[in-house]
Amino acid sequence: MESLISLWASSGLAQMQFDQLIMMIVGLGLLFLAISKGFEPLLLVPIGFGTILANVPGAGFDAAPVYDAMGHMQSPGGLLYYIYHGGIETGLFPLMIFMGVGAMTDFGPLLANPKTLLLGAAAQVGIFTTVLGAVALSHFGILDFSIREAASIGIIGGADGPTAIFVTSKLAPDLLGAIAVAAYSYMAMVPIIQPPIMRALTTPAERQITMQQLRPVTKAERIVFPLALLVLVAMLLPDAAPLLGMFCFGNLMRECGVVNRLSDTAQNALINIVTIFLGLGVGSKMSAEKFLNPETMGILALGAVAFCIGTASGVLMAKLMNLFAKHKVNPLIGAAGVSAVPMAARVANKVGLESNPQNFLLMHAMGPNVAGVIGSAVAAGVMINLVGGM
């Protein structure tokens, strides 16, 4: 009889709180978006599943291990506990992802047309105006964000998942779930969010601008570029060195041509393994207490604003550059500066084709697209440095 009571007392139904039920439905919702709508499934499937697991009442997925006074383990911790504290709190997983992304990145279009870096810079305006928006909401007492939280929210506008996770795990770990979900969701919604803004800010004539063909890039340039970037970061922005250092390392492995087996593993087995665990670990922060509150609504709203401002800034910057430059750039590629590689570049290409079916902008948009990754990693470094000291 006692056993029956014990079984019932330990059943999910007896322990289930309403909050947990809602969060499990949130997890199912993320899975639906990922599987049925194709929203960044590589991350949102693990995050959604992790959300459900973390909210199973009594299963202890994020329980800490218990040790006795002698240091022997009394009860082991939960899977998500180990993943979160081993890989996310330490920053290891986002950095490994960045290495893999570096190994997948082709800097060729950027090297052929370096001034597109400015488009990647402009699109980061979205990050910082969003920070301002968050502190304004706090100022007017609508929501309550500290400067650390505001900075983490802003980074959603960087449109770069691992960067957002890296910054948030350092500055505002409690918001990790909401911010990661917002970042990946909006990255997936780039094809919906960006085109209206791009069309509104450009004339049909501008959208038809044909860009000159990109020059071929030598192997030597490709090898030296990640090293030059690394040295520049080391000299000027050490706080951005973890993210950009690993990014450059991955890219050097890709381009140097002598460690293809390492580059191949960094792009496949390793990044896949880390992606699975990163997603589950982020999911472990999706508790009702941290997610089901007005702040999350604020984060989602501010994130959308960040994407819109970033897109607009990129487009406007391209128009500004055209005032001075000899070779005009099609302002549509400015929108790709938000990163969201390669989705944003594809969107630029698609909107361009609407105006001129012969005008393929994809390769031109890849320049600002990867520049956006560099830009948001720089922004992340500045924020970690400045906000850490505030």
Binding site: G108, L110, L111, P114, K115, L117, L118, G120, A121, A122, Q124, V125, I127, F128, T129, V131, L132, A134, V135, A136, S138, H139, S146, I147, A150, A151, G154, R215, P216, V217, T218, K219, A220, E221, R222, V224, F225, A228, L229, L232, L236, L237, E255, G257, N260, S263, D264, A371, I374, G375, V378, A379, V382, M383, L386, V387, M390
Partner: protein
């Protein structure tokens, strides 16, 4: 305190965007300069280099054993005819 928060946000906007623009503008220069120097130092035909890179990466990332199997399959196929 509240106004401090706003001023912190403004600081972040100014110094943040300043740094991002300064750094990426500098990078435009450094990259352009790097390309010029590197391409002068290294005698390297770009087109061939590019295609070689592409071909090289395909060849090198496909493991030899797979190439071997394909070769074997094709040989076998040819033999069967």
């Amino acid at each position: 305190m509240e106004s401090t928060l706003v001023s912190q946000g403004l600081d972040l906007l100014l110094y943040g965007m300043g740094t991002v623009f300064a750094f990426l503008t500098l990078l435009v220069g450094v990259t352009s300069l790097m390309s010029v120097i590197v391409n002068k130092l290294v005698i390297d035909e770009p087109e061939i280099a590019v295609s070689a890179t592409a071909a090289g990466s395909v060849q090198s990332t496909v493991e030899p054993r797979i190439v071997k199997v394909i070769q074997a399959a094709i040989d076998q196929h040819r033999g069967k005819k």
